[in-house]
């Protein structure tokens, strides 16, 4: 409860900061829209020349594009800037100021900043999903919709956990931001239909680097090709990764010797 109140304060503070640079706010949103537009264009052009990609038609693919963008925006809105900054906290020793505060350090370092431009950009993928649903291209029943939401949350949780774990490496490595770039690159693959990955790759991208779980699982829940075991796996994996990341972060904190003073 105390944490929730604190987070609302963060939220207000960030809103004030962002409203100071309104031009930038608009440009960020424009950038998000462009990025989404280009992904859609890419798939639209492919579907001009073929009816399906390994059995996925254009509507399911569009749903995947929207879901992937949704998860990206959620990650960017609440976590990205924070997680990226961990390396700076460590390098410049500003982590000290966080450690002396009477709150959970992981809470502060990973939730301090909220990006309202990313938050606002959630509108675009939501509109696509809304269009697909109202035009009858995809059908949601209530149980399927709740499963869809659950898997969406799992996707965000997985991205958060792995992101934090990667940047926690900056306690030992000075160039952890390069690793974060790599991490983003990996997860940019999550917007591709899972059918394109075959054999060993499907295994690799499900169990080793779970990009298929992130955006494809919610879509597969809607098309009803996801087994209950897969749902359990997604939930279990998210919980496990969150736990491991928390342990890892605290392990790193214990080994931290300040860079400042």
């Amino acid at each position: 409860m105390r944490y929730l109140k604190l987070w609302v304060f963060f939220l207000k503070n960030c809103l004030l900061r962002e409203m100071e640079f309104r031009g930038n706010f608009v440009i960020e949103i424009g950038g998000n829209l462009l990025r989404l537009g280009i992904t859609i264009l890419f798939f639209q052009v492919i579907f001009l020349h073929t009816p399906t990609i390994g059995g996925w038609d254009i509507h399911i693919t569009l749903l995947l594009v929207a879901v992937n963008q949704l998860i990206n925006n959620l990650y960017n809105a609440f976590f990205r800037a924070n997680i990226y900054q961990i390396s700076e906290y460590v390098r410049e020793g500003t982590l000290d100021f966080i450690l002396v505060k009477p709150i959970d350090p992981q809470f502060f370092t990973t939730l301090r900043y909220v990006s309202f431009s990313a938050l606002f950009s959630l509108v675009f993928p939501l509109l696509i999903i809304f269009y697909l649903a109202t035009a009858g291209k995809i059908t949601f029943s209530l149980p399927i919709f709740s499963l869809f939401l659950l898997l969406l949350l799992c996707g965000v949780a997985i991205r958060y956990a792995i992101g934090v774990a990667v940047m926690t490496l900056s306690f030992w490595v000075t160039e952890a931001y390069a690793l974060h770039g790599l991490y983003s690159e990996f997860f940019s693959l999550s917007g591709y239909p899972a059918v394109i990955f075959r054999g060993g790759w499907q295994f690799f991208f499900t169990f080793i680097i779970p990009i298929i779980v992130v955006a494809n699982f919610p879509v597969m829940a809607v098309t009803q090709v996801l087994s209950p075991a897969a749902v359990l796996f997604a939930v279990g994996l998210s919980a496990l990764l969150l736990l491991i990341t928390r342990k890892f972060f605290h392990f790193a904190l214990r080994n931290y010797c300040s860079a400042s003073s």
Binding site: G23, N24, I27, G30, G31, L34, R35, G37, I38, L41, F42, V45, I46, L48, H49, T50, P51, T52, I53, G54, V173, E175, A178, L179, G181, L182, E185, F186, S188, L189, Y192, P193, V195, I196, F197, R198, W201
Partner: protein
């Protein structure tokens, strides 16, 4: 005369190799998007033999060449130039006995070559590792023509980069120009998808712009999709565009310098 510019290029190249981890990461940043796109097209070509004259191996080769050439030819914004203009540090270069333009040209080539060397090694590894059937031109004459065209693309790309960077004389920071470059240019160069696959109208528009000659044209040569006379015509157009862009660059530079106030410098 050339030595000093060569020096600039080599220093920048060395700076680039200093950050090893970043280098390794940039290897993988080339490979994984390529991997996904290759898998995607393989899946598409399961049901279809040919798309607009592209066979599966041609399409895969297309994207491999895109990955290889993108860093070499893509126009961007040189942070050095825009920062110099905005923060007034341009003054020190105006006083030096070295042409600002050629200074940047060599700096740019140094950076690009470093990255492309990495990309080349990675991609060769990629072809062997994943047993990708690479389309190699049957007529060997197309290879030197391809290389000439790539050389011209690099010059054209650098000219465009220079032109975009000079926009800092007029534009304030963060006007979204970098987003436009990042997202729209890949459509027009053919990096996103071969231009021939786009709707006819978009293809026509792209043909009237210089961006097509950065990537799409050289790759079309390599894939033997165009005749020798079309190649001749294309190379001529490339040279024409280079002339236009560089003349424009020189003109914009002079106009810009007149506006330049050395604010804060």
């Amino acid at each position: 005369m050339f030595r000093k510019y060569l020096k600039v290029a080599s220093v920048v190249y060395q700076e680039g190799t200093q950050y090893r981890l970043q280098y390794v990461a940039s290897f993988l940043c080339v490979i994984f998007p390529l991997l996904a796109v290759v898998f995607l097209w393989r899946t598409v070509f399961q049901d279809i033999q040919m798309i607009e004259g592209f066979t599966e191996s041609m399409m895969i080769t297309y994207y491999i060449l895109v990955a290889l050439l993108t860093d070499l030819v893509s126009p961007g914004i040189m942070m050095y130039i825009t920062e110099d203009i905005r923060e007034g540090t341009l003054s020190k270069y105006l006083l030096r006995p070295i042409s600002r333009r050629w200074y940047h040209f060599s700096e740019e080539i140094g950076i690009s070559l470093g990255y492309s060397l990495v990309a080349l090694i990675v991609i060769l590894g990629f072809i062997f590792l994943f047993a990708v059937d690479f389309y190699f031109p049957a007529n060997l004459l197309y290879i030197p023509l391809f290389l000439v065209s790539v050389g011209l693309s690099m010059v054209l790309g650098t000219g465009l980069t220079y032109l975009f960077s000079l926009s800092a004389f007029w534009l304030e920071e963060d006007t979204g120009l970098d987003y436009v470059l990042e997202y729209l240019v890949p459509i027009l160069t053919g990096a996103l998808i071969p231009l021939a696959l786009l709707p006819e109208f978009v293809y026509q528009v792209a043909s009237f712009l210089p961006f097509k000659y950065l990537l799409y044209f050289p790759i079309e040569i390599f894939l033997e999709r165009i005749t020798l006379s079309e190649i001749g015509y294309g190379l001529f157009t490339q040279i024409l565009w280079i002339g236009v862009i560089y003349l424009l660059g020189a003109w914009v530079w002079r106009r810009g310098c007149r506006r330049y106030t050395a604010r804060g410098g």
